[in-house]
């Protein structure tokens, strides 16, 4: 046990991306036995993990299969139907170049999709408490918490750092919280459904390589297929004859023609972003283009030299992954956390059920008072139904909590963060921290309804829009989604602020979040 305790704080037990554990760690593993869990298994964000934490993807794979499928189909058709002809009539370099480009495209696509984009791990409860203490000291002590921003001077320019309610920390500059993945991502560019992952600090270079090589590949295939058809149509035989001889070329031509515009446009846009050291997020929000007009705002992160900007973004040092997916959870902490979360969730369920019981008893008693008549009988039956649902909810919860998380499926299943997909706790615009002491039944159900509504509009719409507009410029897509996000953000801060009473300090923020998720689960069952 002595050895075990020391291992918890041993810096050598830290992650290295290559999964080689030092021998001391192996001893610890034996001692812990089956109870040792890797950190990816309890990861609070909405990511999925494969190969025991080596591969990380977003919760929804978006249209990644479609992207891969299109690329594969087009390239295979090219190699099978066009290359033999071109090899014979032109040069051997055509399939060679095509092959190299194809390999580049696929590898960079897979790397973009499977790499951690620069996720910031959430603040530990102690850290969060420390930050809260600092905020309380500096701000006023009224019920409404003060707006949580901090200002820093970067390169003689004032930059506002926002507080992330989900991750319980002040976001570093250029960091943004992705509501689809429920993570704060460093140097957040955008969440790309085509690659099924966020694009951030760590995988931006892969993403850029992907779109540039894909534009080259698309243009190359388009050119080669056009040449192929032109050569076949020579001698007055006509295009129709050529197409009849090689129908696959028509398919390739159509795919390439429609994708080349959007992909070339996207590459051009991102080249501009790289050269000016901007992110898509900043460009769309107009953070540095002087939206208010009067101020002399420039990009404080730019080196004011195109080459230096390009080099720093694309060739800079590769930052490490901060989330330590394959590290082991310290045993006492993890078991304590799980136990406390189960207890807390169960306790909340019981508290709410007790309240419902009291209310129903009260109503039934009032029912016996003649003047109140029949209306109360209806209310009584509704409350009894609510109570039964509540009890069922508690039972289900306790059952699911007693089931151990299963790592083989690759889905992180923890008691604290099991949430139905339609409810998105992450979007800071609509997150609130209900007090751990139970609120009256009617109010939380309204809150839940409100959040349901706002979230069912946002995430499903984005992919649908993107499906329909996949030929259009990427910028318009992101503009629409970000304007929607902006709209949500604008309408909800008041909602957010007025509904976040302080959580009870003894339990800690992470436990409160866990409790909140379970209350939502039970109320979801009621809707």
């Amino acid at each position: 046990m002595k050895h075990c305790e020391y291992q918890q704080i041993d810096p050598q037990a830290l992650s290295t991306p290559t999964p080689t554990l030092p021998p001391q760690h192996a001893v610890v593993e034996e001692e812990k036995g089956e109870t040792a869990r890797r950190k990816w298994e309890v990861f609070p964000g909405k990511n999925r993990f494969y190969c025991d934490g080596r591969i990380i993807v977003a919760q929804q794979s978006g249209v990644l299969p479609l992207t891969l499928g299109l690329i594969l189909v087009t390239t295979v058709l090219f190699f099978v139907f066009d290359c033999p002809f071109l090899l014979k009539h032109l040069t051997v370099f055509i399939p060679a170049i095509g092959g190299v480009l194809f390999v580049f495209v696929v590898i960079s696509l897979l790397q973009t999709s499977f790499t951690d984009p620069g996720i910031l791990p959430r603040a530990t409860p102690d850290e969060a408490a420390d930050i809260e203490k600092q905020i309380d000291n500096s701000g006023s002590s009224t019920y409404r918490p003060p707006p949580r921003t901090k200002e820093v001077m970067i390169n003689q320019q004032v930059v506002k750092l926002k507080y992330c309610f989900t991750c319980k920390m002040f976001r570093p500059p250029r960091t943004s919280h992705c509501s689809l993945c429920d993570n704060c991502v460093e140097r957040f560019d955008h969440h790309c459904p085509w690659v099924g992952n966020c694009v951030g600090k760590r995988n931006y270079r892969f993403f850029y390589t992907f779109i540039v090589s894909l534009s080259f590949l698309t243009v190359f295939i388009f050119g080669c297929v056009a040449t192929h058809l032109a050569l076949r149509a020579q001698g007055g035989r006509g295009l129709m004859f050529a197409l009849q001889e090689s129908p696959a070329s028509a398919v390739e031509l159509v795919i390439c023609f429609f994708s080349v515009w959007s992909i070339l446009g996207l590459s051009g846009f991102h080249t501009y972003l790289v050269a000016s050291n901007l992110t898509t997020n900043e460009d769309i929000k107009g953070s540095w283009s002087g939206k208010s007009g009067a101020e002399d705002t420039g990009n404080p992160y730019s080196y004011n030299n195109i080459i230096t900007n390009c080099c720093s973004v694309l060739c800079g040092p590769m930052p490490p992954s901060l989330i330590d997916r394959r590290g082991f959870m310290p045993v006492e902490e993890s078991s304590q956390t799980v136990a406390t979360e189960i207890e807390l969730a169960a306790k909340n369920e019981i508290n709410v059920c007790q309240l419902v019981l009291c209310l129903s008893v009260f109503v039934c008693m009032a029912h016996h008072h003649p003047p109140l008549g029949g209306q109360l009988s209806g209310l009584c039956s509704v409350l009894c139904w609510l109570m039964s649902k509540c009890t069922q909810g508690t039972k289900d919860l306790l059952e699911s909590a007693s089931r151990s998380p299963c790592p083989q499926t690759g889905k992180p299943q923890t008691v604290s963060t099991s949430c139905p997909d339609s409810i998105d706790p992450a979007d800071p615009a609509v997150t609130f921290n209900p007090a751990v002491t139970p609120d009256p039944v009617a109010v939380p159900s309204l809150k839940c309804g409100g959040r349901h509504h706002s979230h069912t509009t946002s995430p499903p719409d984005e992919p649908r829009q993107q499906h329909h507009h996949h030929n259009r410029h990427h910028k318009t897509r992101s503009t629409q989604s970000s304007s929607k996000r902006a709209a949500l953000h604008i309408s909800n801060p008041a909602y957010n602020v007025s509904l976040s009473p302080p959580t009870s300090p003894g339990l800690g923020p992470s436990h409160a979040t866990g409790a909140e998720d379970h209350r939502r689960d039970s109320f979801a069952a009621l809707h």
Partner: protein
């Protein structure tokens, strides 16, 4: 080994009294840099000069990891040409410096901070957000629990 024993004994004899967090300093941009301001809770525990020296060395090490220069460009270009597959085999410069930082912190803990009842946590364990300093209360003195 004697030092290791001290650390373990510390865990058993002492209780964690409090934790002090040294936040990131963003005045130079997004590079990893920690505030060198001396926290007031450590006034009675450690020499100001010593602490600031530790923080400055730490900041210098992180600056070295993130330095944009000839070597990093070479690494970046080579990686780009191999479609970044080289990252699967090779350890990056940043990772090498992180190991150096881990060794530095361990050494500082053993030599300087553990005898004073303090423990520095490597910032990488906290996502490079904070330097967490745990203050242990010595039970033999009778304070704490």
């Amino acid at each position: 080994m004697a030092n290791t024993h001290n650390m373990q004994d510390l865990h058993h004899q002492a209780a964690v009294a409090s934790k002090v967090y040294v936040q990131r300093d963003y005045n130079s941009g997004t590079i990893c840099r920690f505030q060198t301001k001396f926290p007031s809770e450590l006034e009675s525990r450690v020499d100001r000069q010593q602490f600031e020296e530790t923080m400055q060395t730490l900041n210098n090490l992180y600056a070295e990891a993130e330095k944009i220069g000839g070597k990093s460009y070479l690494e970046g270009c080579l990686a780009c040409m191999t479609a970044y597959t080289i990252f699967l085999c090779m350890e990056t410069h940043y990772e090498k410096v992180l190991k150096k930082i881990a060794r530095f912190i361990k050494e500082q803990n053993e030599k300087i901070y553990a005898p004073l009842g303090l423990l520095l946590t490597d910032p990488i364990e906290r996502g490079l957000r904070v330097v967490e300093i745990t203050i242990f209360e010595d039970r033999s003195i009778g304070s704490g629990r």
